[in-house]
Amino acid sequence: MRNKRLNLLLVSLMLLTVLAACGDPTATTVPVATTAAATTAAAATTTAAAAAGGNKTFILVPKALGIPYFDTANKGAQEAAKELGVTVTYQGSATADATQQIQLLNSLIAQKVSGLAISANDADALAPVGKAAIEQKIPVVSWDSNIAPSGRLVHINQANAEDIGRGQIQLISKLIGGKGKIAILSATSTAPNQNTWIGFMKEELKKPENSGLELVATVYGDDQDEKSYTEAQGLMKTYPDLKGIISPTTVGIAASGRAVTDAKKIGQVIVTGLGTPNQMRTFVKSGASPAFALWNPGDLGYLSIYTLNAISTGQIQGKAGETFKAGKLGSYTIDKDGVVLLGKPTVFDATNIDNFNF
């Protein structure tokens, strides 16, 4: 009996060593070292970077890993890091979930990083942990998706409603030569974002320079692909001389692009609106939708790191009215509630679309 127990203990220990030892690069066949020894050197470089005097480590936290939109933001953040001479690490949870994000933030706070730029999965849930970070002198900014004001110093807002709404009309006017019938294909009739944007579109249409444009209809595809496609088809049937469709929703714009392509009306009916480069690439190249708009997530990441750096160096504190410079993007002023506006939406067309992958 005693022997058997000893046997078992030995086997357990052996397995534990195997389990722990495989971290050693040299131990491919006969694992002998321990995890700790194998990875201490590796970890030392990471932590040394954080601890070394002057070299700041900022962390860019997306809603979740593996999403092209956020990966693009990281590219911008890395660009800013190079310009500023700081280190930016991209750290996220496996899924877009507040519980996991809080766990991650707790371990980042424990490492005493120099600053956190977070796209929040839940504005309220992240406020306490953000507050804890700020109390430990770790500056926190939110980007893309807000944290409640108590849990961050600055929020980087990607775009405001007026710029988006007016921008859409200016864009279609340019694309169809300032004259002709246009229609709007929106999400649901109650979608608050889209309705605000459409409100500003109508304001913009009242301007004298847009008197040649005639808004003939606003229809709703409910953000469903099939329904949006049918609505776009319907628009082209009802108004044979329709010149343009504006779809301020990513589902609607892609469906409209397909409807125009399938109806062989490329060039006759121009589609524009808000979309992402990856879904719109073929339509931009075919001419069904020569240009569309959205904010550039790369710039969002870039600005987040510049903002963090400005706070971290004591240049700003996150109070309304303060100004700071953000490299290639120029100068920014903090609005009330600590909000910084990224700027006007970016227009994507054949000249620049291949630079983007999200």
């Binding site: 046997n7 397995l15 971290g23 020894a37 593996g66 996220g92 507040a98 371990s107 839940d122």
Partner: protein, 356 residues
């Protein structure tokens, strides 16, 4: 049968020993890998990230020890927290809202229990159904809104600490419950009945164990504890969204099984489950400190779970005499493969992070 039982119990005792060794190994590795690990305030702050899981794990030990499973706990958590938030937003006193949500969770547990114990439906199927059902109710209550603005007396449940010690209040709640659940499982007739049902439900029924009533009770317990975890999570967040706690049930089951509670029922200890919670907690925290990506962390925890199921089986066979037949070799190969994968993956993910 009797001999088998003794062997199982011995195996369990040894499993706890192994968990302790693992905890020490992980803690040592962490302290070598990161200078921030052995820091009391860091450790205490991260503790509160695991208390909801721990509180739901306690009744899960009961449920799994009887050979059942409850997949609906995270949804019950969501439903109770959402109901509480919805009532609070409607102007109710927060504690009255908590009380009503607690009562609702009793009904949620009774429904599970009724379907499983009285209608004899398999718990896996029933709780997959109620997983969707209860989460759906949470969405029906709050829609895409969040309930917020809870008073400080309530958020203390999740955010408060004991004076200046930094010990989270939720740790105290968990500790108290763990003690009670442990005593009930190991020192009462009720606890013995749980193991009896897990070992052989039919035999227990014939020897006069009130099987149906006990099943009802444990499923109600499971729901009520899920509700309490929900209040603590909502208090920690300072708000409730209907998707609160989604997916936590899998973590809870992982910890319970890793703690040595047999997924087939009949064996397990409360101390093992608590040790597994500590192990997963410090492993997660340590992996976070060395900046392992979230997906990598999930994979490592998953491999650990597979190991935890393979290892005792292999060990048991070894204990009954070294007998090199094909089965032993296959199992040994399985354990070694998983262990090697675990190691390779660990190393590979490190290089990935460093390459950035």
């Amino acid at each position: 049968m009797k001999l088998n039982l003794i062997a199982i119990r011995r195996g369990v005792l040894r499993w706890e020993g192994l968990l302790v060794i693992l905890i020490i190994a992980v803690a040592f590795a962490n302290s070598q890998l990161s200078p921030y690990f052995l820091n009391t305030s860091n450790l205490l702050r991260t503790t509160s990230d695991f208390m909801e899981i721990g509180i739901m794990m306690l009744p899960m030990v009961f449920v799994i020890a009887t050979g059942n499973i409850d997949l609906s706990i995270a949804s019950t958590l969501g439903l109770s927290a959402s109901l509480m938030g919805w009532l609070f937003m409607g102007g109710w006193d927060i504690w009255l809202a908590v009380l009503v949500a607690l009562i609702a969770s009793i009904f949620a547990g009774l429904l599970n229990g009724f379907l499983i114990a009285k209608l004899k439906l398999p718990s896996l199927a029933v709780t997959i159904g109620t997983l969707s059902f209860y989460r759906g109710l949470a969405y029906a209550l709050l829609g895409d809104q969040a309930a917020r603005g809870y008073p400080e007396s309530f958020t203390f449940l999740g955010q408060g600490t004991m004076g200046s010690t930094g010990i989270p209040f939720s740790l105290l709640i968990f500790g108290g419950f763990a003690l009670i659940f442990g005593l009930v499982l190991h020192k009462t007739t009720f606890g013995r009945y749980i193991f009896a049902i897990g070992n052989n439900e039919q035999a227990s029924r014939f020897s006069g164990v009130p099987v149906d009533r006990i099943k009802m009770i444990i499923f109600v317990l499971s729901s009520v504890m899920a509700a309490i975890a929900g209040f603590i999570l909502a208090a920690r967040f300072g708000s409730t969204r209907p998707d609160i706690g989604t997916g936590l049930e899998l973590t809870v089951i992982t910890v319970t099984v890793l703690g040595g509670v047999s997924i087939f029922g009949g064996s397990g200890t409360m101390i093992g489950a608590v040790l597994a919670l500590i192990l997963v907690g410090i492993l997660r925290f340590g992996m976070g400190l060395i900046n392992l990506q979230g997906q990598v962390q999930d994979i490592i925890i998953g491999l650990l779970l597979i190991l935890s199921i393979l290892l005792p089986r292999f060990g048991k066979q070894l204990a009954s005499g070294l007998n090199w037949n094909r089965g032993t070799i296959f199992r040994l190969a399985g354990v070694v493969t998983v262990a090697v994968l675990f190691g390779i993956f660990f190393f590979w993910s490190r290089t990935l992070v460093l390459a950035r």
